[in-house]
């Protein structure tokens, strides 16, 4: 008897599948969006907006909520290294919120540069992540960004001698962060 009841239910469900659009069921739900202040944000490095080579300024501008950045750098031939231009901040408050992050390169830097890197260091000057800015995609997942941490961001470029000085080019990146690290972000 119980088995016949089960068979009956399954048969009814199967009929629904076969019939398809014969009936629609609407189940309501509410999604409440409560925005919060960004728990991870950008900050100026100690050399942001300071003079660089040949009197040029290494400019850094941050978004109104420090959730975006625009940097302009002026390398020359051979290897040019820009130190402490930007910071990545996980502030002390709220306490205990640890994150993982990576850098997603959306628009990489092309030729004639033979090398372009974003180098991220912790407070002890340990390299935590080296990002190849000539290669698109997510790099460095998951890199730890503990609570109350501020990472230093340097840039390095190699422009080989003998090529015509190229025009300005813009590298687009995204910093992607999450409280979990089990799955690589899309």
């Amino acid at each position: 008897m119980r088995s016949s009841r089960l068979i009956t239910i399954l048969a009814i469900l199967a009929l629904f599948g076969l019939v398809g659009t014969a009936v629609f069921v609407y189940l309501p739900g509410n999604i409440t969006v409560s925005p919060v202040a960004p728990p991870v944000y950008f900050a100026n490095g100690s050399n942001a907006n300071q003079a660089g080579l040949a009197g040029n300024t290494m400019t850094v501008s941050l978004g109104a909520n420090q959730s975006s950045f625009n940097v302009t750098l002026q390398p020359t031939y051979q290897k040019t290294y820009f130190h402490d231009i930007l910071r990545i901040v996980n502030p002390a408050a709220p306490a205990g919120d640890n994150y993982f992050f990576a850098i997603k390169v959306i628009t990489p830097l092309g030729a004639p540069y033979t090398q372009a890197r974003m180098l991220i260091y912790d407070n002890a000057n340990n390299l935590v992540l080296s990002v190849d800015l000539k290669t698109a995609g997510v790099q460095g997942w998951p890199t730890s960004l503990p609570d109350n941490t501020q990472y230093r961001v340097d840039f390095e470029f190699i422009l080989p001698e003998g090529v015509t000085l190229p025009a300005s080019a813009t590298i687009q990146v995204e910093l992607v962060y999450s409280p979990q690290n089990a799955v690589t972000p899309p």
Binding site: R2, F42, S68, N70, T80, Y81, G162, T170
Partner: protein, 394 residues
């Protein structure tokens, strides 16, 4: 609870677990980095030193320098031929030989120093000199000497005359102690007049007494020892030493090079510069020093140093390199090298310049120092320091 309910519950819990595992949040915050390259503000400039040839990169941000070391005899005095006037020679008068002059021409020679004087007396002994500071070479000196061209004129008035005229050198340290000397009697006479005409004396130096790389004062000395006796008149004398040249030359024991291997120049900004030795290779025994000097020639960096082919120091200290007036260069990269005959050394270097804390640039630099093949021949001492036109066949 019947089996059906257990089955449905199990399925429900399973799906809950899947949802819990996969659901999370990713936040993406964008950034743009604009790269605007510039022409180099700092460039290499080739050295015009004898024996140096350079190959620069197309934008003068890399260089390969080839240096031919040489065992040729070289002069270490300045203006030893007096052609540029009396400087840097300083006159120390004696009691009697107390007049010192430089003449553009004298007794048929150009650029001549005259030391003269006179007096009365019976037993007369006096010394006068001219001196300048020299730096004893850092390389191993095989031999060295002082070469003096002189002309002595004297008038001696007495009934009995015994006169010696001497010339030579004394080398003193900075505390005024005599380190080594060699003064020779060139005239010994009982005549009333002395007229030697132009002569040359070559006096060897005891090189073992001198410390490499040390500053000394080289004195060219003239001395008189006179016995003048007269029954009827007051004995008196007049003497003049004319010098056409007084030079100190050294012959390296091994092939050597001293001087700027290459220069650097900046036009817009000042930078802190240093040089790093990445690697080196040697053939035979090698001593090398490399350091930086800015255009004022008053400040030197510490040196990269290799002794007996063993690395002592792999990096110079930083030196400030600043824009300079037209016709000058901001920075010299100096080299002192002594290599075994037939030997060589290759230095693979990085020149690093930084602007404060925010940015630095690295240029590659290779320096190769060799003892060139088929060196052969005799060591030549050049007595003339300016070109002399050849007489044409008429």
């Amino acid at each position: 609870m019947n089996r059906f309910h257990v089955f449905l519950s199990t399925i429900f819990i399973f799906f809950l677990l899947i949802i819990q595992t996969t659901a999370s949040v990713y936040t993406y915050i964008p950034g743009n980095s604009t790269v605007s390259p510039i022409s180099p503000d700092v460039i290499f400039v080739p050295s015009s030193s004898l024996g140096v040839s350079s190959t620069l990169g197309q934008n003068r941000t890399s260089a390969t320098v080839n240096i031919k070391a040489s065992a040729t005899t070289q002069e270490i005095t300045t203006n030893g031929y007096f052609d540029a006037g009396p400087s840097p020679w300083i006159f120390i008068p004696g009691t009697y030989i107390n007049r010192g002059f430089w003449y553009p021409s004298l007794y048929g020679r150009t650029g001549v120093v005259s030391l003269s004087g006179g007096g009365t007396g019976i037993f007369i002994s006096d010394r006068a000199s001219i001196y300048q500071q020299i730096t004893w070479p850092s390389f191993t000196v095989g031999s060295a000497d002082v070469n003096i061209s002189y002309y002595i004129l004297a008038n001696l008035t007495a009934d009995i005359i015994s006169a010696q005229f001497r010339i030579g050198y004394r080398i003193l340290d900075q505390a005024n102690n005599v380190v080594t000397s060699n003064v020779q009697t060139v005239v010994s006479t009982s005549s009333t007049t002395v007229n030697t005409g132009w002569n040359v004396i070559v006096l060897p130096i005891n090189t073992a007494a001198l410390t490499p790389g040390t500053n000394y004062n080289l004195h060219i000395v003239v001395e008189i020892s006179l016995f003048l006796f007269s029954f009827r008149i007051t004995p008196r004398f007049e003497v003049e030493y004319a010098l056409d040249w007084s030079i100190l030359t050294v012959s390296p024991l091994n092939p050597v090079f001293q001087g700027p291997a290459i220069h650097m120049n900046t036009t817009l900004s000042s930078y802190n510069v240093s040089v790093i030795l990445n690697s080196f290779s040697t053939v035979g025994n090698v001593d090398v020093k490399l350091w930086l000097r800015n255009h004022t020639n008053t400040v030197d960096s510490t040196a990269i140093e290799i002794q007996n082919s063993v690395l002592i120091s792999s990096q110079t200290s930083e030196l400030i390199m600043a824009p300079v007036p037209l016709g000058y260069l901001s920075l010299d990269i100096l080299v002192e090298a002594e290599i075994q005959a037939g030997g060589s050394v290759t230095l693979n270097l990085t020149v690093k310049y930084r602007f404060e804390d925010g940015v630095y640039v690295e240029y590659p630099l290779t320096i190769v120092i060799v003892d060139p093949p088929n060196r052969g021949g005799n060591n030549v001492i050049f007595y003339y320091d300016k070109p002399i036109p050849l007489v044409r066949r008429s």
